[in-house]
Symmetry: C2
Subunit: 296 residues, 2 copies
């Protein structure tokens, strides 16, 4: 959307590079479809050719974060900011060790979007992005800084529903309240979010898991809005039937983001003296399935 | 085995009646294979033709217990005893309401045996049966009674590894320590007991569920042996790879014994002020799968 609005955007592509060069990038979006012609995009096949950038957006799966040490030094060469739009808790730390804590922002994407084919993105519901400063300590909050405000304003000018937060940890916990039950259960029970929310047994189970996330966040000093559990269930009920990213990863034989979405929050809760028994049980089931898929 | 040893046994058969009449009953057992010829068995197609019996063994799935009101009055017509060799907690109560509390015994089968075809039973591992008096109150124990001792002796004379208990509730809880994790997880994760016990994540999860069963039993006044969790894990590790009965039911599209194996223990624990969060989560997952299979 930034490129569509005329901003200078450089794309680092891997398996889709040739396809996009020839056919461009197609985005089917509830906020408006558009197409970027390949010959008018700044396409890169390797990080080495990326210019120093003001802002580097990291959209990797967290399971590929080991690549950051190799990739980030090029676009971040002249002191630019790194914005991690990734799942999980504390996933910014992998970027922070490469460029330094004070150059990293994180963001949560509250939207339903998948890559459905080479150079083809389908964005089917919602669109809110919440971003803020990365603070390494789990009980620290930065407040809204000027640079976050400027990036949010640039994005909003490109029709992105971007929002600043002064407390990234709170935003992360808020997002996990959806990710933990619906990513986890959709894989274990081989079900869509629609099936999970429509069946009383799994609606109850999701609520239990959300309560554990709520309590863990509170133990970590983040009291989420009182109505956040009901609001999350309502949003899911109103959502276009959607396959969670973890389910798509699992069905495609890709590694799941278990460390970012499960292990990290469980560890954070545990450090703060909170337990998440139901979330831990689902995590153990997922590890079993992950290991079985890998061994098979 | 009672019939094989020459005792008078009457068999009430449903779908296998014609097959067994023609081909007899074949038992492949780790304790010795044998075959009962159909023309030397007392076969019944309906309960009405059963004679009054000294002991009526109920081997129905608990999901069919609604049939007991119709079936039991015939063999129990002259005051005989009803021995329920069924899964779950308190499943004897369905027989007790038909014939009276004081005529009911219950027993737990710690063995690996399945029906693998018409008139064909495969008994692949273990063989212990523990039986005792039914006591309606969860905190009551009867002690070993003479009639239990006599039945046990008759069975042992037929080469059955039968054992008397003076505390049926304790035996039920002890059996649930296996049934709850391994029946439940084998369905949810579509796995054999071997896969579950070999993978650290699911071994941990099974241990957590067993601890919840242990604590629930303790809250209900039944302190199980201290080493029962490790012993159950060891038995499972040594077990011939085995499909749990619940998994076989699920794969065959039959209703699962969720009320007897999950809902009843959860309710008993709750009445005694204990919670079983992990067991409840797995129960909710199973209810989802059960409902989805039924709806589909």
């Amino acid at each position: 959307m930034l490129a569509h609005a005329g901003r200078e955007v450089h794309f680092l592509l891997n398996s889709d590079y040739e396809f996009v060069r020839k056919n461009g990038l197609r985005v089917d979006s509830v906020r408006g479809d558009f197409h970027l012609p390949g010959d008018r995009m700044n396409l890169h096949r390797t990080a080495q050719s990326l210019p120093p950038c003001d802002v580097t957006i990291v959209g990797l799966k967290t399971t590929r974060n080991h690549l950051l040490a190799e990739l980030l030094p090029y676009p971040a060469a002249e002191g630019g900011i790194v914005l991690c739009l990734q799942n999980g808790l504390h996933s910014e730390s992998d970027s922070a060790v490469v460029v330094g804590n004070d150059r990293v922002l994180g963001g949560c994407c509250f939207l339903c979007s998948n890559k459905v084919g080479p150079g083809h993105i389908k964005h089917i519901d919602y669109g809110r992005i919440v971003m803020g400063e990365f603070t390494p300590a789990a009980n620290a909050a930065s407040g809204v800084t000027d640079r976050v405000t400027r990036i949010v304003e640039d994005m909003r000018a490109s029709n992105i529903d971007a929002n600043a937060t002064g407390d990234l940890w709170a935003a992360r916990w808020r997002k996990l309240m959806w990710n933990i039950p619906f990513n986890g259960l959709s894989v274990v029970l081989n079900a869509s979010t629609r099936e999970l929310i429509d069946m009383p047994a799994t609606e109850d189970l999701s609520r239990t898991m959300m309560q554990e996330v709520y309590d863990a966040a509170a133990a970590c000093g983040r009291t989420l809005p009182l109505d956040s559990i009901n609001a999350t269930l309502d949003h899911t009920r109103d959502m276009v039937p959607y396959d969670s990213s973890m389910r798509l990863d699992f069905l495609a034989g890709r590694v799941m983001e278990l460390d970012a979405i499960f292990a990290a929050p469980i560890a954070a809760a545990s450090s703060a003296g909170a337990t998440m028994p139901t979330v831990e049980a689902i995590h153990q089931q997922l590890r079993f399935l992950d290991r079985k898929a890998t061994d098979g």
